[in-house]
Symmetry: C2
Amino acid sequence: MVNTSNFPLVLDHIGMAVTDIDVATRMYEKLLLAKIIHDEVVTSQGVMVRFLSFADQKIELLQAINDDSPVAKFIAKRGPGIHHLAFKTSDIYEEMQRLRGKGFQILQDEPIKGAYNKLIFFIHPKSMGGTLVEVCQPLAT
Amino acid sequence: MVNTSNFPLVLDHIGMAVTDIDVATRMYEKLLLAKIIHDEVVTSQGVMVRFLSFADQKIELLQAINDDSPVAKFIAKRGPGIHHLAFKTSDIYEEMQRLRGKGFQILQDEPIKGAYNKLIFFIHPKSMGGTLVEVCQPLAT
């Protein structure tokens, strides 16, 4: 096994922009034998999200609940499909500082509350070769 | 730890369409402390590919070497960014049959030789909600 603690970031989940969260769920159930582990509506982002678990990874399905949602705009521009990659850190404040220092453009001034009880921030796709990257840290419960 | 052998597919790598493989490499070195583990030119697909390793995952960078390359067409249509997800199986022929039986549209009649000494096939994005999915099995060396 690789010692992942030697790395600042570990893959946490892959985010998918979908037009119908239930149709997408059935697709990933068939492909990966994935199971639903969490459902949530994030009103501030205009999305309903669903986390699916398979093997040792997770997929987040995102369906827009209004036309102003960033996910609605993403789908209008690029079509449904892979929306973002999320990487987990053990210290999101330190990681925000490290990535700013490396020249990455961070979309938030401070980490914000994201879905599934996590602190998150995003790196602008313009400073990530077109890929939207989320950095996250689970909050203790 | 999750017993991944209970699942037909495990995430193998995330494929990124890039315009400059060296610029993208430096970006993922900074973001993830990723290391180069393999370089290859796949003439039949019109791409040079580079595999990067970080924590317990891999990223495949794909740069077109001619305008007919599927990667060139992808970038012309959608811009650079996440290109495909690749999942590993322990029996690619059985997995092809399983996924066909579930109604997924497979792009190849039989598995083909892919980069980094693997047998691969692709699922059409039209039957995967817009996501290009690769299924792969490493060949013994």
